[in-house]
Symmetry: C2
Subunit: 555 residues, 2 copies
């Protein structure tokens, strides 16, 4: 924990991943920094906006995430001698040594960062972050800030979308570590999926780092590592209240299995179950009598896994333990979950075991938004979903195009033109507001020039599409929320916004998603949320645009 | 650098990313380890195979990568007290404390790892890694090994595929850091793209960690940060050989710009160029006279960027410097590269500047296999490609399904059945060979039981498809290569294969790709490479399968 150079001493830890250093950037940030320095421009005051151009996954909303890690980087942004030596090696030998002295003294004490709060629902073109400071320093920050925001926001959004389809009552478990894009992909995924509305992760490292609840039971390998019941040597199990001991839990399970086989309601559904599976389940129950959850699809769900599970669960029940449930990891999850539920309910009825019909059903196996949606349509009895590959790699769209554009330098607004109108940047140092309507929904986000008066509650304001002349609307806001807050004041003397805990960010995110008008959130043909500029900013953009664009000649 | 517990002291550093610890695993590996321990099974000797089921990107080959990081993890696999305390917190409080003492003493000194060499071309079903050891320990390794192999192999394969389309003569630059899935996604991408055949990266941290060549110049922000030529105060530039000084390099550039405007061959192509762009180019050239490469599409490539670049390059040329070239980052890259080339060639001819026509052209902007292929078909003049998002996020398929399956425990072979034949595992501790034909191409990979005699050069051997009875072929190999080598001997006393440098792995990978029969490598409808089992293993698989599968009843 090192305070930023000459700036105020603020005790902010470094980034979670120690590999996030000022070297985690593109070489061209250093070549540019050198060129700025060489031209005497390095301390010119620049304003960059960090924003994206299109919501991911064909949706109309995005969850902003990654801010805390950015501030942790900024607060500790200093080069080590070792890093400076490497930069010197990597640049042409003609570079003057004065530059490396400049890097030696460099930190972010003169940088000012305004950002939208982490966990907010955000929209295209609105700056998620406005970074102001000496142009060479801010330029160096471009790549690490993008790296820390791009994936974080993408995967948090993906998690929120999965939650939306699964419904609020389901337990959502992130199981993606093994398929993630590298170790940090895995750890970030666990963090930001939790932020976006998941309940727990399988990733132990993420549990330790961020306090995310952990979940997990056993795999197919555990089941197939057993050969038969004679492997179980220690067969006794104490009852839950400690009042008695069952000397042969294996026999007790076998007795239940025979009862199930002969049962009136279940009769004939299954014959001989797989004995190595049964041995695995019994061993697991002996190890975790209070937390018995079994993976039931290693051999055959309905003919082996479910009867074996129920026999063990009923034997546990005799000792006062309540089994947690089953996990299904293959096959037709809608059908198998419904059949399993019927089986559990039949047992509750026939053997009078209260709540046995409500035994938990967890489903996994390559789940994604589409399969969750299909399960909903077919009808299913799943209580918890374990989601991995599609969630953490953002399979449906593995990258979010967050960009970092210069909008002002030395108080001069700058615009980046493009053949593609959607790629034209919105110039000027700006303020951004979210305007709420009388029903409590956000209606529109609006960007204004830094010095324009803010929109006022109850006063009509014209909101214009930044590039489309004909799209404009008057709005009378019932509430006005300024979006960009100061998270790193630099030398400005402003108050610094606190970095809340991940649990608070998660709650804020869920609340933010809940307050959106439902038509923006639906999976199919959602309505775009409106993003606008003030009339004054509109006029200025178009004045600047005409000024900068070369006049074509048709030859 | 810590040697593995009780095992032989081997000086192998820990994983590149310090977040790769024994906690980077799924919780269920610990619950299973506990259940194994509780059942007295934890030291049973197990063999797990790590393999994938399908080549990615619709292709018929995969590059194996990530092995070195796995061995680094294994060599340093020890729990800290802090980690053990966290595991204890995370497991049910009923867990016996003896288990945590067991974890305290645990390392990989009794684990044995055979693997295919990193950088090899590999195919479905063949174990990339065979991990043998106490079942509880090997189980704990599952998730981190998968995490380290899955993305590494995926992105190395993606890089190899991009190289294949771009052709051997092009320079390929990885520019993906800002869009990668987290910081480690970025650093791993840089490492494994280089391994898969890229030439350089923009990622400075990866350059430092792995010695990968670095590339980069400047961005649009650099260009738009300039307002005009009067910003350039220091205007002198020494000639390349130091023999003289041009006192006003700006004027020299302006003179060239006028000449170009009046030129016979170029006459009328452009009018007034953008002066802030010109100022940026001149500043960059003054900073890097030997490495002048300009991004030419901030305003208008043919009407501003190219003439401005050429004027600066020609002024540099007067002083004995040779400009490197231009970068195009938008628009029709085929057309713009050809037009730029014509412009350069016209200058070479009219002003007699040797080799000016060969000035380098780098292209970037959302490139991928398809766009490279389209550029090839249209014809282009690009010398170097900068590829980011699609490369590092593996946009076309962001996950490789590498799995880790138990194939033997206590010398008993195990099989994992599935409704889906492609998901049935191949049981037994196995050996794997690559058989080469008389033309030098690999013909087929074959798996045999551990104790079967190896295939012999010149002797006919029957290669059978593991699951399809009718697919089989006799092969007379001209060369036999054993694929699985011992990278971690544990207590076996075997020799340990060295971990070669990344440069050597890269060379091996390029060589491996070159020796494949071209029809396996083509983008459209490639021929699947054959993967087989010996006749003896085939019979055994099917015996075991019938033994384990429940007999169905049609009701």
């Amino acid at each position: 924990m090192e305070a930023a150079g000459n700036g105020p001493k603020i005790g902010i830890d470094g980034p979670t991943n120690p590999m996030v250093t000022p070297l985690l950037t593109d070489l061209y940030q250093f070549t540019m920094a050198y060129a700025y320095w060489k031209a005497g421009k390095n301390n010119e005051r620049a304003v960059f906006d960090l924003y994206f151009r299109r919501n991911p996954f064909g949706g109309e909303y995005t969850v902003f995430a990654g801010l805390e890690e950015c501030i942790k980087l900024i607060a500790n942004f200093r080069f080590t001698e070792d890093e400076i030596a490497f930069i010197q090696e990597s640049l042409p030998s003609s570079c003057e040594v004065g530059f490396f002295d400049y890097l030696r003294g460099l930190d972010c004490s003169d940088v000012e960062i305004h950002a939208i709060s982490e966990g907010f629902v955000v929209f295209p073109k609105i700056p998620l972050m406005r970074v102001e400071g000496p142009v060479a320093v801010v330029q160096l920050l471009e790549t690490p800030l993008l790296t820390l925001i791009n994936y974080a926001s993408l995967v948090a959004t993906n998690a929120a979308r999965h939650r939306f389809v699964a419904g609020k009552s389901k337990l959502l478990l992130e199981f993606g570590l093994r398929r993630a894009q590298g170790p940090d992909g895995g750890i970030s995924a666990s963090k930001y999926c939790y932020m976006g509305g998941f309940d727990a992760t399988s990733n132990v490292a993420a549990g330790k780092l961020f306090g995310i609840p952990l979940r997990g039971t056993h795999s197919h390998a555990f089941v197939s590592s057993f050969m038969g019941l004679d492997e179980i040597t220690e067969r006794s199990l104490q009852s839950c209240d400690g009042s008695n001991v069952c000397e042969d839990f294996v026999s007790s399970v076998q007795t239940w299995l025979s009862k199930l086989k002969l049962s009136y309601l279940l009769g004939g559904i299954f014959g001989e179950t797989n004995q190595s599976e049964l041995a695995a389940f019994i061993s697991y129950a002996l190890a975790f009598p209070k937390n018995f959850l079994a993976l039931v699809d290693t051999y055959d769900v309905m003919r082996s896994g479910i009867p074996n599970f129920c026999a063990v669960a009923l034997a546990l029940n005799d000792l006062g333990y309540k089994a947690i449930g089953i996990r299904l990891d293959s096959g037709d999850l809608a059908y198998l979950s419904c059949e399993s539920r019927k089986f559990f309910q039949a047992i509750e009825k026939e053997f009078v075991v209260p709540d046995f019909g409500k035994t938990g059903i967890t489903a996994s196996n390559d789940l994604n938004e589409e399969t969750l949606d299909a399960l909903n349509k077919q009808g299913h009895e799943v209580d918890a979903f374990g989601i991995g590959t599609h969630l953490v790699t953002c399979y449906a769209q593995p990258a979010l195009g967050v960009v970092f554009k210069l909008v002002e330098i030395n108080n001069q607004p700058r615009i980046k033109l493009s053949e593609d109108v959607s790629k034209v940047s919105i110039p000027c140092k700006k303020r951004c507001y979210r305007l709420y309507g009388k029903e409590g929904y956000p209606l529109v986000d609006i960007m204004t020039g830094e010095n324009e008066p803010p929109p006022k509650i109850g006063e009509r304001i014209l909101c214009r599409h930044p590039f489309n002349e004909s799209k404009r609307a008057f709005v009378v806001p019932k509430r006005v929320e300024e979006l960009l807050k100061c998270f790193w004041p630099g030398r400005s003397g402003k108050d610094r916004e606190e970095l809340p805990s991940i649990k608070l960010i998660r709650e804020r995110c869920i609340e933010q998603l809940n307050q959106m008008r439902p038509d923006h959130m639906r999976r199919l043909n959602p309505t775009p949320y409106k993003v606008s500029v003030s009339a004054k900013l509109y006029d200025f953009i178009h004045f600047l645009w005409l000024n900068e664009a070369p006049v074509g000649e048709l030859l």
